[in-house]
Subunit: 383 residues, 2 copies
């Protein structure tokens, strides 16, 4: 069909030819997988029976294009599909929408990776600091960063500030709120950020250290700007969002509009991970998407802890976060989740130096006290 008021030359003039690609793995017989790839091209763009669209430029540019279709082994096929940068506009959520909006609901389709184009790199320039910026900021040039979390939910802000003070005295690089600390009456956000920031500053003044506090700001839309302001006002140094709870765009916003270290947390995005029935490969979900959104650090569950990631997945996540993407700085990944003090050497050997190791409970419960344990933690990473 023809559409009233559609002028092909007007649309054509708006198309730069700049395209980005998404790599999908499709579990199906070859013929069906190819049909599904064609479905994705339409589903992720026009959502309209393509054969009915009598519009040249929509057909040639707006609808997704299969760039390659190959056997991926294990009964799956790999389709690389390209989309016009203009389909995205300037919203990161719309970028995700093009990558996997409706197709997320279709079974047996997995996003393996995205390769963004030059035009999109200008719009989504990635981490403000990234690995090189964090090395400067934390004065830690060749070693992994050491990271901990304030716990448990239920403590008053003063108790969390005391914990932070002790950790900072021990020389820890980064301290975040536990992701369950938001704005509960026990330790309200503003009060918590005020006290913890002051405690960390006091310790830094005493030691000459550079510890950064990362409050968890993920919460109601209406409170987010205020929570960011509070973190800036009290000099927290960082800010954390769980993109599964707030949308990935909070990482983008914080990286473009603040000078805080931007940390992403994986809460509520676990479901996205492909477990054999479709989703997003964890390497892409954790190593790539937060980096493109602007996170400096992304927390994820380490292998051998409470969660179920394999060594291969953890390596893959780190590789995606560090791989060369031209102007987009590498992001630091931070394995966490039941990490123990006893595993520091193993973790360092596994991840090398371009990583942040996050140990929570074990620093608290190991003999010696927080300051001493944080000191040992750092020392092991410096050695």
């Amino acid at each position: 069909m023809k559409f009233e008021y559609y002028d092909d030359s007007v649309l054509k003039a708006q198309i730069s030819g700049d395209r980005f690609t998404v790599t999908y793995r499709i579990r199906a017989e070859e013929k069906e997988a190819h049909e599904m790839a064609k479905t994705i091209c339409v589903e992720q763009s026009v959502e309209f029976p393509a054969e009915h669209i009598e519009c040249e430029t929509i057909q040639s540019d707006i609808i997704g294009k299969i760039e390659s279709f190959t056997d991926a082994g294990d009964g799956a096929f790999r389709a690389v599909i390209s989309y016009a940068a203009e389909n995205v506009g300037e919203d990161f959520p719309q970028f995700l929408n093009v990558v996997f909006g409706n197709s997320s609901i279709l079974p047996d389709i997995t996003v393996e990776r995205v390769d963004i184009s030059e035009r999109l790199k200008e719009i989504f320039p990635g981490p403000r600091l990234g690995l090189p910026g964090l090395r400067e900021l934390l004065d830690a040039h060749e070693r992994p960063f050491c990271f901990t979390a304030l716990k448990p939910l239920g403590l008053p802000a003063k108790a969390l500030a005391e914990e932070a003070y002790r950790c900072a005295l021990g020389g820890i690089d980064l301290i975040k709120d536990d992701h369950g600390l938001m704005n509960q009456s026990f330790a309200e956000y503003r009060e918590r950020v005020r006290l913890v920031s002051a405690a960390v500053r006091k310790a830094n003044d005493e030691t000459g250290g550079h510890t950064v506090y990362v409050p968890n700001a993920a919460g109601a839309f209406s409170s987010m700007l205020d929570r960011i302001s509070v973190a800036e006002e009290y000099g927290a140094g960082g800010i954390m969002f769980a993109p599964g709870l707030t949308g990935f765009d909070m990482l983008y916003y914080a990286s473009r509009h603040t000078s805080l270290v931007v940390v992403g947390h994986p809460a509520f995005i676990g479901c996205y991970i492909d477990r054999g029935k479709g989703g997003i490969d964890c390497e892409c979900l954790i190593g790539q998407l937060p980096r493109l959104a602007g996170a400096d650090i992304m927390v994820f569950p380490n292998f051998g802890g409470r969660f179920s990631f394999s060594e291969k997945q953890c390596h893959g996540i780190q590789e995606m976060a560090l791989e060369d993407m031209g102007s987009i700085k590498p992001m630091v990944v931070s394995p966490a989740g039941g990490m123990k003090v006893e595993r520091i050497d193993e973790m360092r050997k596994f991840y090398g130096n371009d990583v942040s190791l996050l140990i929570g409970g074990s620093l608290f419960t190991s003999p010696g006290g927080l300051t001493e344990n944080c000191g040992k933690f750092k020392k092991k990473l410096e050695g």
Copy 2:
């Protein structure tokens, strides 16, 4: 361990005793499943080795509690776990965080439903309009609502406005932007909302009808308030967000701070759906969570269309959306996704009257033109 500055009586005084529950299905042998249920209690609250927390009220109230543990059949067990309302505070994202934050990353755990408590019903009062409010607003008291979408991406705003005009002339109840229309240069948000709202108003003036236009506002955090204002300024009548892209809290925000009809779209939440390896049952994800967040209407993929939901799942989604929740109004679900004009009678029979049927492409491509096809669509629902 004991925590400095922790005063049990202070915490105790903040706990009302009001608790809400989450029902989890855990796929494992009985003993392991019970261990996992205990893990969830800790993971979704204190994230700290429970045996090390020497704090009475944290132990008795803050840590989740297994209320029941039963055989769910098919090699799975069902754990109902309660949490203190105070763990949530007043942020809807923190509610979701307590429901399934970190546990979303654990395999083989599925959220079946949530049962919110009286205190939380005050904080999260659900849809502003819901089914009864929409019946008044749309002057449609006993029939399903008819809903369509403006398509395809690539058309100029003027063309989309023309489509909307024709649909409204035909008496359609609701018209939404295709969820891929955001703020692309082809049909920028402000211009689109201005022209489409005016076109719908013109048609309503001519017919005496009540068609509501629902622009898709899901996008960058920084633009969201402006996009809501634009929808209000031009009298669109509704607003749509995809909670997978923006977070569920946008539904909450719009329902509490605007008088627009709030529509949720499932883009990018498909991964959450349990496909046998853990996640959220689609009945809860689509029928319950958006309702608790405040959506008046939630769009979802109908059975037998382009997507893969079963009849049972679709019935379950509708049931969850309509079930009695006391003060929380029922939400209207809107099956969509490759729905065809020929299926209207079948859909009406299947869903009854308390539903909104969303037909997109098929209204455009069926013989007769948009106005006539929308008129027939409505007539079938009135019959």
